[in-house]
Symmetry: C2
Subunit: 442 residues, 2 copies
């Protein structure tokens, strides 16, 4: 693409003058002439996809295995065909659209994301990375670029329920999990069949370490750091490890009118002090670790009965598993002390565990180079949320690109990323993909 | 009854030697010859009533308006007829069994309690006072005693749901409340009809201030004070006032992985600090006041979502309404401060309010005299629980008698009062009734 083509394309985008200036910043030099995506088309696709499962109050409820999910996938399959890709549905229900490379002996580079949502979710989580991946593939085709490596655009199924599609491919999905009931009401096995997969034949879908040349994923940050710090691009240092526990506090239920304050074994009072202790412990040391009590219920749950039991959850996240363990040790010691003060006992049951998944340092460098060449500001940061990329990190070099989420809002109808940030992210994805295609790592 | 009769009756009771000694303490003098109830019969009736709605794990679930409630009432009606009383069911569904007095122009003295229970309740709350009242009436008959005042043994309906039967009689029940849904699943109106009342014709059931000569109720303490202090009888100073609020804490729901600790508006963290503040405020001053958060739920309630809302209850009880109000003012100021610290807001909605109901000082003196003459230890104390007696206190002089609850356990299958304590309570009830019958208060 020559300079005049580039300028006319900018005009055709119909985007804000600010964005045009931003895209045009490196006016002279090769970077300005590097391949770019069709940003207007990408943002139009995002708007179109948002129709499937649209909520009256905005955002979408596009639960994995729902009719809205299947309709959204049909729309995506159409985009892939328009992009001259050849989509197929693997046995795990993932959509995989191949684009041949010049050297058929090379392992493929995978890139993509997911389009399923949480209940009352937004229009950007997953959708941006999915449609940007298709847009990158389409732009490569339109600009006559063929990579050395075969490319595979992947739309993972049921990310929000627990990375089911990507974990099937990485071999982390256990057979038992196929009987889990998803938020759609269907079991995972029934959901996979509903999407056109075959839950009885997951074996051949599985890939091994070294089977991929790399994996890239563009995603919204889902936090407010990039926006607050006026930074264009987040380069994901790794995806944090997560441990979740169910915490049961046992006291003794009794009459709230007749039991003096000093004779109580109030499970909710103990649980309340526990919630405060979790917060104080997690914030007592520097770092990006987070700790959350997201669920809480007191039993029997009547205004006039001292709770005999309280059940809550505890979740800790950090890039460093040892830090998670040391926070838990400290919290658990405080729980024991609170139990002693309140005449209650605490029991912890591990619900769920994800080990931290660091991204590949070499891929991070390629992403940083790409962002720099595009004139974008950047920041290396952890991903506090889980992503399909963490499953892919077990198979080959993984990199993730974040763009700002306005107000840090995610998993909610008000989730929003600016069109110009989405275009920035897609351009960094394309540039990083081409750089990854060009390197030979052994 | 002469001395020989009394001694042989003691033997017939088949009770512990300790109780026989206790009953026999004032061996010489008129008190020893005062009328006594048939304690063995009373305890047998309590055991028999416990069959209706019996739980497999002990105790009863005899919800107002359930089949078990109606069966229990049939049993009670039979006891009343055996006791030569004439039971009727009033329009509010209460069972009222009249026993004529010598002076038909006098207002009646009422005494009784309730036999409905909470879910998975015990065999003593309400049952003891109900069956003791019938036992007192039967013993009076058997001993040829006719009071000056007409007597009415009353079994109030749906005490546990909110004193519905007694409040209908005192005129405190509003027409709207008839559509409340009780724990049985029936509305109050349907429940009253189910028991043989007529919810359309409550008017004539209502009594006015001065319509009764007095009201007495025997009840288990439902707290552990009498047992802990080895005291036989509690003389109720008054029934505490109760205020209940629903407390809504509003923050902002967000992703628990991507939202840094210092960017959160965690409604559950705020609610947890509130629960702790309630406890510390209520226990920071001397007195018998109690404060309870019995219900708590966080929304949306997922382990990986920072709660955007938490809803809990607050209940404060004390004999002094001004103290309740001053505690609430202090708690509510602390809530505002917690809201400021956590980026959340607190809203309070009054759910329910009972004004304190002091007992009549003169009736308390009669009860104290009765206990003293029976050689029993006693203590003046508030009732932390609500009772039908508080509705009756609006109509005439009210007095309540407590007996020990072992371990202070109530509203639970393990609720227990010793047979000898029950007999003590019934004898104090009978003696107090006779003293009340003998006085002429203007």
């Amino acid at each position: 693409m020559n300079r005049r083509d580039f300028t006319s394309r900018l005009a055709a985008l119909g985007l804000t003058p600010a964005l045009s200036r931003l895209l045009a910043i490196p006016e002279i030099g090769s970077a300005a002439l590097a391949p770019r995506v069709d940003g207007a088309r990408l943002n139009r696709h995002i708007a179109e996809l948002s129709r499937f499962g649209a909520n009256p109050q905005g955002g979408v409820t596009r639960l994995a295995y729902s009719d809205a999910d299947r309709q959204g996938r049909e729309y995506v399959l159409g985009l892939m065909r328009d992009a001259k890709l050849t989509p197929t549905i693997d046995a795990a229900g993932n959509i995989i659209a191949a684009r041949p490379g010049r050297d058929g002996s090379r392992k493929p580079i995978l890139f993509g994301s997911h389009i399923d949502s949480v209940p009352e979710g937004g229009n950007y989580d997953g959708d941006v990375g999915s449609l940007a991946a298709i847009e990158v593939a389409q732009s490569l085709g339109e600009q006559g670029i063929t990579t050395r490596h075969p490319l595979q655009v992947v739309i993972w199924q049921n990310e929000e329920g627990g990375l089911y599609g990507s974990r099937a491919v990485s071999g982390q999905l256990t057979g038992d999990e196929l009987q889990n009931v998803s938020r759609s009401g269907k079991t995972i096995a029934d959901g996979i069949a509903f999407l056109g997969g075959d839950p009885q034949r997951l074996g051949p879908t599985r890939r091994n370490k070294g089977d991929i040349a790399g994996y890239l994923e563009l995603h919204i940050e889902q936090g407010g750091t990039l926006e607050r710090e006026h930074t264009d691009i987040g380069i994901v240092e790794g995806i944090v490890g997560i441990k979740q526990w169910e915490v049961t506090v046992t006291g003794f239920a009794n009459h709230a009118g007749t039991t003096p304050m000093d004779q109580r074994h109030d499970a909710l009072l103990a649980a309340a002090r526990f919630v405060d202790a979790v917060n104080r412990t997690v914030t007592s040391i520097p770092g990006r670790q987070v700790g959350t009590v997201g669920r809480m219920q007191a039993f029997p749950g009547a205004p006039n009965v001292i709770p005999g039991q309280a059940i809550c959850t505890l979740e800790l996240r950090d890039l460093d598993e040892a830090k998670i363990d040391s926070l838990f040790a400290s919290i658990s010691a405080k729980a024991t002390r609170i139990g002693g003060e309140t005449g209650t006992t605490f029991a912890f049951r591990l619900l769920h565990e994800n080990t931290p998944a660091p991204s590949d340092a070499r891929v991070r460098a390629l992403i940083a180079d790409s962002a720099r060449e595009l004139g974008l500001t950047m920041k290396v940061m952890p991903s506090g949320a889980g992503h399909d990329a963490q499953a892919m990190a077990t198979l080959g070099p993984m990199g993730m690109i974040f763009i700002p989420s306005i107000g840090g809002i995610s998993h909610a109808p008000k989730e929003f990323s600016r069109p110009e940030d989405i275009v920035n992210g897609a351009n960094v994805l394309m540039a990083s993909l081409l750089k990854l295609d060009a390197v030979d790592w052994t």
